[in-house]
């Protein structure tokens, strides 16, 4: 087990090095100039060139890369060009909304997806299966911005139950901030439940055909025990994978939903940084997101071992 974890950690470091090189190269290869954006439409080329020197953007790319790597190894992701704060602080500020949104949304997705998938599989081919499969297809096809706008119009503008956007006014309580997450989490939860329904259904169907299920039934166990104890437990491995990956995806930023609901999350930070070419933020954020991805994958592998004893061997 220890060797397994160490091997995976080694892989993690290699992936992060690759990500660092790729991210740096891609941000610099893309055209666009953060300083031209910073100084505004009426600034002259001469002004832009002068300020580029201040930010070290006039140096050769390799020098800039070397400087950045050195900083990263010291735990410093650099200073944002636009936000007047270190990248680590900018990221830390985004952690709370992103984390709660992801958790909230994954919970909704799992609460809808696993029972629906299970029911669809148990009653395969019946009306209820067709309804759930159709709902899953629909869920996978609806654009999140459209669903977001509809929810805003109905529940924020029409009924006034939830705020239309944002993460609360300065100094509001955690409960008030979470209140702002209900609509976006519903959008993400409903849309992502589609995938979980399909995975659960497929996984449960596989297990239902197994010999030990037939044995369980033939020894007279009730259908409820068979399904919940023998089928669902064994079907959990792929479901955990999907739920974990969904969580990872959301921590990386639910960009569209965050934009529609104007949530100050990680996805929003990265997208806005890309639009204004805030190089330190793009590089730092992507490196951290990649790190989280790799870490979640590692955790999923560990959960596999707990759920499925065969992997431990």
């Amino acid at each position: 087990m220890f060797r397994f974890i160490m091997a995976r950690l080694g892989g993690t470091v290699a992936v992060l090095i690759l990500v660092a090189v790729m991210v740096f190269a891609l941000t610099r290869l893309a055209s666009g100039d953060p300083i031209a954006v910073l100084l505004g439409d009426q600034a002259s080329a001469e002004d832009i060139a002068q300020v580029r020197v201040q930010y070290g953007l006039d140096k050769p790319l390799l020098t800039q890369f070397g400087y950045w790597v050195k900083e990263v190894l010291q735990g410093n992701l650099g200073q944002s060009i636009f936000l007047q704060r270190p990248v680590t602080q900018a990221l830390a500020e985004r952690t709370e909304p992103t984390f709660f949104l992801a958790l909230f949304a994954v919970t909704i997705a799992a609460l809808i997806g696993i029972p629906c998938g299970l029911i669809a599989a148990v009653w395969r081919g019946r009306f209820v299966d067709q309804v759930f499969s159709a709902v899953a297809m629909l869920g996978a096809s609806i654009p999140s911005f459209w669903m977001g706008l509809i929810l805003i119009q109905v529940f924020a503008v029409g009924l006034g139950w939830f705020p239309a956007s944002g993460y609360g006014n300065p100094g509001v309580s955690l409960a008030e901030r979470l209140h702002h997450l209900v609509l976006p989490a519903t959008v993400l939860g409903v849309l992502n439940s589609a995938l979980i329904i399909r995975f659960t259904r497929a996984s449960v169907l596989d297990i239902l055909n197994e010999d030990y299920v037939r044995t369980a039934r033939s020894k007279g166990l009730s259908e409820r025990v068979v399904i919940l104890k023998h089928v669902l437990k064994n079907a959990l491995v792929p479901i955990v994978t999907v739920v974990g990956l969904t969580l990872a995806l959301m921590i990386g930023g639910a960009v569209v939903t965050e934009t529609v609901f104007n949530l100050p999350g990680v996805g929003n930070l990265v997208v806005r940084a890309v639009l204004r070419r805030d190089y330190p933020v793009i590089q730092g954020a992507l490196l951290v997101i990649a790190g989280i991805y790799v870490l979640i994958n590692l955790v999923i592998d560990l959960i596999y071992m707990l759920v499925d004893p065969r992997i431990r061997v």
């Binding site: 055209s31 100039d33 505004g40 439409d41 002259s44 636009f82 300065p170 934009t259 104007n262």
Partner: protein, 519 residues
């Protein structure tokens, strides 16, 4: 029966307790009143909070509450004093401006403003501000001549000086001297609001400055008495236009800036809770031509393109609803000192045949005109599409280069990469403030003897009435040489909640002298 009675008594007791508790809560809320606050939805996160650091309007909109300039504009776009006591005393030769400062004006750190702060701030402005640097080339010296007197000496006559000092963008803001640095960390000004906190992509928070030294004159535009009636201003960045609209309709925002024109119908239907605001002659789109390299380096070809273009069609494609745009050749609105119809015959021609003839005479060989535009502003893109069609009608090939804004502002500095780019600007009260092509060296690199002679006469004329007439000559040269095309004027749409009172439509929305009522 008795149990029913018991239930009723319990219910009554509970109701009474609930009423008592509510009353208690109500009393406690009246005792600890929350500060009055306004949520103001802006189009983006400010690029910086340094008031001098950028020409972006958004930064000016927010930071004009924190910092003040020596001069500002009144409701009729006249220059009026703000931190200066009055208009400057100008020497007979027009080169020396003596500025007397108001006394007793407090910075947010409690210290009184003096001439040293003004000199240090203006010097910084001429060193770091994109606008100030250009003005700095005209300035010989800025010196303190006493605790409340500053002397500014010009190298040559420069009529736009006060307009430049009064502009909120790339502002000649007066900073507390001790806070001046390359990167400002403490935002200490003299404005009616002080900077409290910035949470990127969440809000920039300003709170009322209780020791604010207001002017005595009645408020007029940006000038006169400023009073912070709302205790807390929260500038919330909301880049998605539809989210700004929904936030206004749901009552979340007290003000939402720059809404899509198409949302006017929904805002009007929303009833009394939301008030749509139209700011007339808010801005002008303009098309910059590359006068040094490529197919449009030839003046004849530029005139051919100008003849092919129909600005009316472009404005219609860009803004749709006719209430939101004006198709007119005058670069400045009617009723302003710089209104002129010079060159009107060359505007909105949409004459494909004539354009073809001019191109043929100029030896046009089928080289495509590269039009660079961004979809950051959808109307830029829509105009680019119309331009391509109009050129096609005149037999001129075109190539659309649709890039993001960060790329456009970089690529336009390289004359090899483009022939026309699309942008826009607010309508300023002084021609020399925009577009930058009126100065030397801006993208497009327009330089000609006619430009220099007409602009030099214009800039050295100190009499406002005569300057109006001289601007007509400059406008004529712009139509004759076609370095850029001023496409027309557009109105902006914003919205305020019913509870926000006292708001005046303005190019850089300001919230002193406004108040919020009720919840």
């Amino acid at each position: 029966m008795s149990s029913l009675f018991f239930c009723k008594s319990v219910k009554r007791a509970l109701s009474l307790t609930a009423v008592a508790m509510s009353l208690g809560l109500l009393t406690s809320t009246t005792v600890i009143a929350a500060p009055s606050a306004a949520n103001l939805a802006m189009i983006a996160e400010p690029q910086t909070l340094d008031p001098m650091g950028t020409t972006a309007d958004l930064v000016a909109t927010i930071m004009q509450h924190v910092y003040e300039p020596l001069y500002t504009y009144d409701a009729r776009w006249n220059v009026a004093p703000m931190l200066a006591d009055g208009l400057p005393r100008v020497s007979d030769n027009g080169l020396t401006h003596t500025i007397t400062l108001r006394q007793g004006v407090k910075f947010h750190n409690g210290r009184e403003m003096n001439a040293d702060d003004v000199v240090a701030s203006l010097r910084r402005w001429t060193e770091v501000s994109p606008r100030g640097k250009a003005v700095g080339k005209e300035i010989a010296s800025i010196e303190a001549k006493g605790p409340y007197t500053v002397e500014l000496k010009l190298k040559t006559l420069y009529a736009p000086l006060l307009s430049q000092l009064a502009l909120p963008t790339s502002m000649a803001a007066i900073l507390a001297k001790e806070t001046i640095a390359t990167q400002i960390k403490d935002f200490i000004g003299t404005g009616p609001y002080r900077f409290k906190e910035r949470r990127p992509d969440q809000y920039t928070l300003l709170t009322r400055f209780d020791a604010y030294s207001a002017r005595k004159e009645a408020a007029s535009g940006y000038a006169g008495k400023r009073e912070a009636l709302i205790e807390e201003l929260r500038f919330v960045p909301v880049p998605s236009a539809s989210t700004r609209v929904e936030g206004s309709l749901s009552g979340q925002f007290d003000f939402a800036d720059l809404l899509p024109v198409e949302s006017i119908a929904r805002l009007e239907r929303a009833g009394a809770s939301v008030v749509p605001i139209m700011t007339e002659s808010f801005g002008f789109p303009y098309l910059v031509f590359n006068t040094t390299e490529g197919v449009l380096a030839s003046q004849a070809m530029r005139l051919s393109v100008q003849t092919a273009f129909g600005e009316g069609e472009m404005m219609a494609a860009a803004f749709g609803d006719t209430r939101f745009f004006t198709v007119e050749p005058n670069h400045f609105p009617k009723g302003t000192p710089f209104f002129s119809t010079a060159g009107a015959d060359k505007y909105n021609q949409r004459d494909a045949t004539a354009a073809k003839e001019i191109a043929a005479k100029a030896g046009y060989n089928g080289q495509p005109v590269r039009i660079m535009a961004s979809r950051q502003y959808e109307f830029h893109y829509n105009m680019a599409l119309v331009m391509a069609e109009q050129l096609k009608r005149a037999g001129i090939k075109s190539e659309l280069q649709i890039v993001d804004w960060a790329t456009l502002v970089q690529r336009r500095n390289d004359p090899k990469l483009w022939d026309i780019y699309v942008t826009h600007s607010p309508v300023f009260p002084e021609p020399m403030l925009s577009p930058p092509q009126l100065n030397e060296g801006a993208p497009g690199w327009w330089s000609s003897p006619a430009k220099q002679s007409t602009l030099s006469a214009f800039n050295q004329e100190m009499d406002p009435a005569r300057r109006g007439a001289l601007w007509g000559k400059v406008q004529q040269v712009i139509y004759d040489e076609a370095p850029y095309i001023n496409v027309g004027k557009f109105n902006s749409l914003s919205a305020r909640s019913q509870r926000l009172q006292g708001y005046l439509p303005s190019a850089w929305p300001f919230f002193w002298n406004t108040s919020v009522t009720g919840k």
